[in-house]
């Protein structure tokens, strides 16, 4: 068991409903610690994406509080591979976006920014494709580009929502390898949503299983061992 480090995200008693009286999330308590590689699993409609959006401040909870104790947060959304495939942006353009908020209005990217961008592209092994339009790439390559954009941001934590949907098997393996490297070598905290419980439990170190309530939270090996986890997998892998 990995000892818990400092909290970087605290979710306390959070409830949220899109339609009043029909909560998507109920009384969620969840702490994310620095260096965690947390997998959020659960059935479709169980509230996984909603929880991430709440943590990121894209939507506000009706009850409870959410605190984030880190400055630099990156997000690779569910729609990352579902964007306008004709969008006029190259890999280099997309990854450069990761530096924009740091620069501020009207300022172009500095030498260091450009170096960070090309390092990030290199880290996901996309240097050969940096001048290609993003829409001309395969799903796996697009996803790597979005990871590179997150990396260029030099984040403390990256949230990924179903990052491997629409990505072929070989690319998935490569993709998880990159994530592991980011977590172990660079110490970036990762929060990964997936409905693919089988795969994700092998990759992450901690699991939060969500189906409106927080059904399980702890080290992933416990999740696999526990009868609870097995039941959860049995119930929801085909959801």
């Amino acid at each position: 068991m990995i000892p818990d480090t400092k909290n970087i995200v605290e979710v306390k008693n959070v409830s949220f409903s899109y339609i009043p009286g029909n909560p998507v999330l109920k009384d969620i308590d969840l702490y994310i610690h620095q260096g965690d590689y947390l997998g959020i699993v659960g059935p479709n409609g169980g509230g996984k994406s909603t929880l991430i959006k709440l943590i990121l401040g894209l939507i506000r909870p009706q009850l409870g509080s959410i605190a984030m104790f880190c400055k630099n947060v990156a997000y690779v959304g569910q729609k990352a591979t579902d964007f306008d495939q004709k969008f006029p942006a190259t890999v280099q353009d997309v990854v450069s976006m990761g530096r924009y908020s740091e620069r501020g209005l009207f300022k172009g990217l500095s030498k260091e920014d450009k170096q960070l961008v090309s390092n990030a592209i290199e880290q996901v092994d996309m240097s050969d494709f940096k001048n290609r339009l993003i829409g001309e790439l395969s799903g796996g390559q697009q996803q790597k580009t979005f990871i590179a954009r997150a990396l260029a941001q030099q984040p403390e934590i990256i949230f990924l929502d179903e990052p491997t949907s629409g990505v072929d098997q070989t690319s998935q393996v490569q993709f998880y390898k990159i994530l592991k490297k980011l977590n172990q070598d660079l110490g970036i905290t990762l929060v990964l949503i997936s409905h693919d419980v089988d795969v994700i439990t092998k990759e992450v170190t901690k699991i939060a299983a969500i189906n409106r309530d927080l059904v399980f939270y702890g080290p992933s090996e416990n999740f696999i061992k526990e009868e609870h986890g097995i039941k959860f997998i049995a119930h929801h892998t085909n959801a």
Partner: protein, 265 residues
């Protein structure tokens, strides 16, 4: 053959046309990529209400049009964010509402007249010297502000959620952009007319996107297509006594079709 440059109104039309031809597709690229094309149409109808009010009150209609579209653009953006209306229905409300207001105002000021028709379909003859100043100054302001927010707008247009999470002031940038779009639409009225403005914003963009370049070259190509269309449209309309707005739009459509055929090969 007549020398068109000896006519002041043609020169004025060409100057105003050049500025609009550069500004309109620059805004248009972002509108199209944000899937806001319908906003251009809506705001052009709002501008008609603004013009009708200006004509009625004896104020420069270009200014009242800018005022009306700028205020409406902010309201439309607020409605869009509040999600109180289903999808694009907020736009439909503004479109029909402002058109209704325009019709009523036109009725009060004793019906349609030539100047109103000019605003509907565009006529370079109506471009005054003061219009040139307004168009030049505001056109430059729009381009400068767009340059300032360019990279943020690029990110937001591509991926709004990630931009927000990374710390970009998404709502503020979107509001500034929609006001810039409102100003641009009002500025284009004297040349292409209310009913054809969205074409000047959209067609060069759609044509340019076919070249499959990254954003900045896409904008430049759209500007070139737009300048070509506006210039040749004005010149043809002068020699063959055609409606300039219609000619400009038809030429830009022709360029779109030709580039499509060539690039498909």
């Amino acid at each position: 053959m007549l020398n068109l440059f000896q006519y002041d109104f043609v020169v004025r039309g060409l100057i105003a046309g050049l500025i609009i031809a550069i500004v309109a597709p620059t805004i248009g690229v972002f509108l199209v990529l944000k899937r806001y094309s319908l906003i251009a149409d809506t705001l052009s109808h709002v501008s008609l209400a603004g013009i009708a009010a200006g004509l009625l009150l004896g104020i420069n209609p270009l200014l009242t049009a800018i005022g009306a579209t700028a205020v409406s653009s902010i309201l439309i953006d607020k409605l869009r964010l509040s999600r109180k209306f289903y999808g694009e229905s907020a736009l439909a409300l503004f479109l029909s509402g402002s058109l209704a207001l325009a019709v009523v105002l036109i009725g009060i000021s004793h019906g349609f007249n030539t100047s109103l028709l000019n605003y509907l379909f565009g006529s370079i003859a109506t471009v005054t010297n003061s219009d040139i100043y307004t168009v030049s100054i505001l056109g430059v302001i729009v381009l400068v502000i767009l340059t300032i927010i360019y990279k943020e707008l690029f990110f937001i247009t591509f991926d709004e959620d990630s931009a927000k999470v990374s710390g970009i002031k998404v709502n503020a940038i979107n509001t500034v952009f929609i006001i810039l779009a409102a100003i641009t639409i009002s500025l284009a009225i004297p040349i292409v007319g209310i009913l054809l403005i969205s074409a000047l914003l959209v067609i060069p963009t759609v044509a340019s996107l076919q070249f499959k370049k990254s954003l900045f070259p896409t904008i430049l190509i759209a500007q070139v297509i737009s300048v070509l269309s506006v210039f040749s449209g004005i010149i043809l309309s002068f020699y063959f006594n055609l409606a300039p707005g219609g000619s400009i739009v038809l030429i830009s459509l022709l360029i779109l079709v030709i580039s499509h055929v060539i690039l498909q090969k």
